[in-house]
Symmetry: C2
Subunit: 810 residues, 2 copies
């Protein structure tokens, strides 16, 4: 979109803020003790007029900082009751809110989690002495204590107690501390199931916000899920009783001889894992007994399980929308809070650039002066030099844009001499032509078929022979030439800006490395050769549906990764519990008395005259260390033949071990159903979106265009020179130089960012959003009776902090 | 809802129709040859005025009939180009459109399908001689020929050729005919795969319309499905090549030693069916090889398979809505056609009762006079004695209502003497009280736990002992008393009108039968005892979500059944093909050379000093007759361990047999995904509906109330006496008698029917429907330029038949 251009923006704005930062007020009260915090609009302003210039600047700095904190809270969906309330809290808040601190948090949590690699039962290569790992643990826990104390300082004791997650963390920390000390003293590890709770340190990390959201969503989806689960279990019990009565008279049927077996086997049948086997003995006796199993599977598997998915999907859908709504309103409130702190008494209708710049200095310290000004320009949609509240509401959408000067030259080679230009122009046209593209697709397809046929002809043997196959060289040469042509024709920057080209480039590079490996006969690199077929993925650029699918996939990738991490956290808990109880329980030939003996057998024995090696590999699916446990748990997640693992462990321990496996099944079922619901929801949403916006432009992310003139830039430079000791105007001066060089009076800048789910939702719920806003402001007005007859734009603003402040001060 | 009452409705209406039945016109042209069918409004009417009374009545009868046919076509979603065009076609149409004919169609189709039970390879007990079953087949085919010739007569040769389904049927019929004769002549059965096509006779039946719709929906969902399937297969091929390079150097790994094995095993892995096994040999060699499998499963199973579901779900959703829309508009057009045939020249603004009654005589011959009048009253919403087109649009919603006089007495025992009344009233209050209900729930719960504990204590042995357990008698007595109380308290009719009570009743009855069986020690009835736990289902009445789920289930049951039937039709095709190729292929110890030998082994052999009976039951999963084939196919549908069946058959035949199994997997995957999508869609729809109408009344189906006065009834009786030779006014006269008895001047009738998916959709898409209607009428107007400036209500009516008729006549 192209926003209107303003004739001139007055950059400066002197005056005092309508509202003052709470830290400042705190300071004043600390100093004088007589500062009145009643909502009297005139008296502080009056007093401030008499204050010194430096004090005024200090005041403003405080306001900027608090506004930036509000905006951060809005962005991170932090509740406002954790907003730092005084200067001391602010110091702790600032200490606890930067990437160094976050990294420390994350690395301590990871250290604690990774310790389980070294604690007994450890991965053989990583085993550490008890003294070593217990000391490491204590060290990590002490760091956590430090982190928590910082948090307490920031939140204050009252809020700290009220904050549930932090309280749980504190309790876990206590338990872990005691246990670590006990281990150190006794010099031996006891059964430490509580290690499973270590995940909470990871979950509480700032960087794992997405995991926390997922967990919350899972817990919110639980009630309807449990309802249907009960229905499922109820039918299971009924069928178990029926099955017991029907099939237990058949003594060759080991699956229904007791009610317990009947229940367990029908539970396993729910996962289809033992399907034809469980039916076979009774089916052999009476063919009509298959009806029992068909009816059971139809009801349980094909009906109730899908019902489960439907219920979760529906709840998920609903929660997603509610979440989006509450986040949107939270951000809006945050923006209102920040706005109140940035407007001046003299001009209550908007924020001047000076104050906006001050805000951004705290909110995004890394942003350069040029970008700050462009952001301000992008926000400002009215004809005034101020950003009004209505404009300021777009803050989060605009602040993420990356700005770049729009190139005047179309190609990178425009400045070259005539001959070179013509050559490159030719290449450029060639590379962009359809013929070239389809030729390359054909080559890729031929290559694909070639690889398939070649592999098919190999049929085992040493295929990593010394001589490199000529076909490989031919195709690689073609790809190399294509890469070269494209790089020269489009310019390296433009070439690599497309994800697909990047993919082509890396695959070709890998293939080249593979060639080197083949040519120099380097064994460890041979696996690169097998990446060759991946080049075929390029063929999927051809069809629109695939591009859509892949785009959606990339868009969803962060969310998928966080769901995967959530699953891993569940895995970790179960792995720890499994290791504590089942480590070393299964081994070759361990389970000869159980029904699954074959899968664990490892013997050479003689049948007739032949030596038969029976190798059942299932003893490998054990809980002997955390890596093995993870693989075993993945196998349990896939659920095929999981009962063999369960029965193996059960035969070596007690019947109650089955509970572990069944609970794990149900937990993964919940998580997996939610993952399925998520994928379903995301794609259906995306497809609806595409259907709704069929006529709109191709999807290239969010793009915004802004033109700024030379005078503006010079004005901004002047401003910076005046307000800051070390002016960071290098970028701005470069723009002026550039303009001078090309003799332009203005430059156009493009702001770009990729489209997020939130953008899509904004467009999908366009109409509803207006309703939400109205409802929200109505509610706020109802909560806080109008005290100040302020300007219309800020009439609905009654920040929470005002009330909280009076609590703390009075 | 309560519609307004009209002061008086003039029942009769003389005059000539605006438009005349096409059959009539046909007759006239046959007679005179000079009848002009140009859309001249005045001339036919003018001529008709001079025609005799009897001819006029005949004319009207024809109009009624054609209107009824239009309405039927609208209801059954028959396209109007199959509308019978002349009197000969009409006769054939009437012959081919009644339940006797439908039943004949169905039974021939079933006979043909069931023949495969008796044809070699037959079910042992049902084997018939070749001569017998070939003769039966010929007979059935001749019946089909007769049916088709009737259809040709009705449709005319032109339309017959254009009707695709009928043409396919004709071709299949031809092939079957030739084959049956060949079998009869050669007296031996050849490979008759074409028998799989017999399903088409069933699909074409009138009663299997739902199956046809399902098949259409499946085919419509195919294109996006195939796109994603290709993506799935593409990744499979890439991973197969990778897997082959990575794992074939390991000679103890039988799964990846050739590219073909690699492909097949990864295909099976897609179904998780061989999961930990396929990984184990490489995992035993190098633990990191599990990454290959985890990545493969994550991409294929957890991502692309869900994507498949998402795409199908989305397409399904879209198709459902479009289907609903087209059906709705089709019905509307049908109503418009019918309306044109029923209005008179003199009163073009509506239909009088006389003509409406005539229509219903053809449309619903079984309906009694009282119901016809009530339907008319229910349709009529205006203050005139005529039903306007706008009112007539509700025809399909109203015509299905079942009418009943609203009872004046609240209970069935109101007329009894005082003492009896008080007793029954007491029982009634007791039965309806919450205490009674919850007591019964408690009893059921206790009974459930009792059964569970009792069964748990049994642990095998002869539990069908001669002495009946006392607990059984106690609980059954309680249930019996409850049943008795409820029947007397509510009255038998009201008691049995609730589905849940009916369920209670039948379960108690079954339990009682079980008791009898136990007491008299009748072996064959013992299975009834095991139905006892089903009584626990009553507990699910307690929670709203379950009631909702069960209601939805019942609502969806017809659709589910048709989906099941669709699946069975696919089964049938595959069963026939399987039997022709694989009958008798697997047997005990058949597959000792394959990798799945164990599952087919059946030997007593000696290991050490012990005799071991190895019993692999998989030889039972064969294609030896059609029943066995169905069970085998069900096992393949569940997909667990299906590769054992596949490998068994493959080892006895050729590698190409795998194609059969893989194609079957993909086909069932399509059907199953659509079933899942259907269940998802239905429940999500229902839940959205419930959420949207939370405040509206409880769901009791559609109820309509109408009051009619004594004068009206007498008027209707008079009318009937005049217009029909054998007046069917017994019901009406009974109403008059009843009114006289109670001294009432009017009676209130209640019309009831259960709510269908269509009703829900009507409410959900309320707003969109108006748009559709407008769009539809705009389109119609654009198609047919206005020729007659008729009344506003019928201005948009340009029936198709008009144009078609002029084609056939001119």
């Amino acid at each position: 979109m192209q926003w209107r251009e303003l004739p001139a923006i007055s950059l400066e704005d002197s005056g005092s803020p309508v509202e003052r930062s709470s830290y400042l007020i705190e300071l004043h009260t600390d100093d004088g003790g007589s500062y009145d915090v009643v909502n009297d609009a005139s008296s502080p302003a009056a007093r401030e007029c008499c204050a010194q210039q430096s004090s005024a600047r200090h005041n403003w700095e405080m306001n900027y900082q608090e506004a930036a904190i509000y905006l951060q809270e809005g962005e991170n969906n932090d509740k406002f009751f954790t907003h730092p309330k005084n200067a001391k809290a602010l110091a702790a808040y600032l200490f606890a809110h930067n990437h160094l601190f976050y990294l420390m948090e994350l690395s301590t949590a990871l250290l604690l989690l990774l310790l389980s690699l070294c604690e007994a039962p450890a991965v053989p290569m990583l085993r550490l002495g008890i003294f070593v790992h217990a000391t490491l643990e204590l060290f990590a826990l002490i760091v956590v204590v430090f982190e928590l104390s910082m948090k307490m300082r920031w939140l204050g004791f009252q809020t700290f107690i009220r904050h549930k997650r932090t309280m749980v963390k504190t309790c876990v920390l206590l338990v872990q501390f005691i246990e670590a000390i006990v281990v150190l003293v006794r010099q031996t590890s006891h059964v430490r199931i509580t290690r499973a709770l270590r995940c909470i340190f990871l979950v509480d990390c700032r960087y794992c916000g997405a995991v926390r959201r997922n967990l919350r969503q899972i817990f919110q989806s639980l009630p309807p899920f449990i309802d249907i689960l009960l229905l499922l279990l109820f039918f299971m019990v009924i069928f178990a009783i029926l099955g017991f009565y029907l099939f237990s008279p058949n003594h060759s049927d080991p699956y229904f001889n007791t009610l317990e077996n009947s229940l367990v086997n029908l539970f396993v049948l729910l996962t289809t894992s033992n399907f034809p086997d469980v039916m076979m003995p009774s089916y052999a006796r009476n063919p009509w007994s298959c009806v029992f199993f068909i009816v059971y599977l139809s009801i349980e598997l094909y009906f109730i399980m899908n019902l489960l998915l439907a219920v979760v999907f529906d709840t998920f859908n609903d929660i997603e929308k509610r979440k989006f709504k509450s986040l949107l309103l939270h951000k809006r409130t945050a923006i209102q809070h920040a706005y109140r702190l940035l407007v001046t008494k003299q001009r209550p209708s908007g924020i001047s650039f000076k104050h906006f710049e001050g805000l951004l200095r705290f909110y995004k310290p890394r942003m350069c002066a040029r970008e700050r000004y462009l952001t301000f320009k992008a926000l400002n949609q009215s004809n005034t030099p101020l950003v009004s509240l209505k404009d300021f509401y777009n803050f989060y959408e605009v602040v993420g844009l990356k700005w770049k000067a729009k190139r005047n030259r179309e190609h990178w080679f425009d400045d070259l001499p005539r001959t070179a230009f013509l050559i490159f122009k030719g290449i450029n046209i060639l590379v962009k032509s359809r013929v070239f593209q389809y030729t390359m697709y054909t080559v890729v397809a031929v290559n694909g078929i070639w690889i398939l046929v070649e592999t098919f002809m190999l049929q085992g043997g040493n295929f990593f022979s010394r001589n490199v196959p000529w076909s490989y060289i031919v195709f690689l040469t073609i790809y190399g030439v294509e890469l070269l042509l494209k790089t020269t024709g489009l310019g390296p920057v433009e070439y690599l800006s497309s994800g697909w080209n990047l993919f082509d480039f890396s695959v070709t590079l890998f293939a080249f490395l593979g060639l080197m490996a083949l040519a120099f006969d380097m064994e460890p690199f041979y696996f690169i050769v097998v990446l060759r077929p991946l080049q075929l993925l390029r063929l999927f650029k051809l069809k629109k549906r695939y591009r859509n699918v892949l785009d959606t996939m990339f868009e969803l990738f962060p969310r998928m990764a966080s769901l995967g991490l959530t699953l891993l956290i569940f895995y970790y808990c179960f792995a720890i519990v499994g290791m504590e109880f089942f480590a070393g329980v299964v081994y070759p030939n361990c389970c000869n008395t159980s029904t699954v003996a074959d899968s664990y057998r490892w013997v050479n024995h003689t049948v007739g005259n032949k030596t038969v090696v029976e190798e059942g590999y299932y003893y490998l699916n054990n809980f002997d260390n955390i890596l093995n446990s993870f693989v075993t748990l993945f196998e349990l997640t896939v659920v095929n033949d999981w009962y063999i693992i369960m029965e193996g462990v059960t035969s070596q321990t007690t019947h109650w071990s089955r509970l572990y496996f069944m609970i794990f099944y149900i937990v993964t079922m919940v998580v997996m159903t939610i993952i399925v619901a998520f994928i379903l929801d995301a794609f259906v949403f995306r497809m609806n979106y595409t259907r709704k916006n069929q006529d709109s432009e191709e999807d290239n992310g969010i793009v915004l265009e802004k033109e700024i003139s030379k005078e503006e830039v010079i004005g901004v430079i002047e401003l910076y020179k005046r307000i800051s000791a070390v002016p960071e105007t290098a970028q701005l001066q470069k723009i002026v130089l550039q303009m001078d060089k090309y003799g332009q009076m203005s430059t156009v800048f493009l702001g770009r960012r990729s489209r997020t789910k939130s953008d899509l939702s904004m467009k999908m719920y366009e109409e509803e959003i207006q309703e939400w806003y109205e409802e929200h402001s109505r509610k706020e007005e109802a909560q806080t009776p109008l005290q100040e007859p302020a300007s219309a734009a800020s009439s609905s603003l009654k920040p929470l902090s005002l009330r909280q402040r009076s609590q703390t001060v009075i």
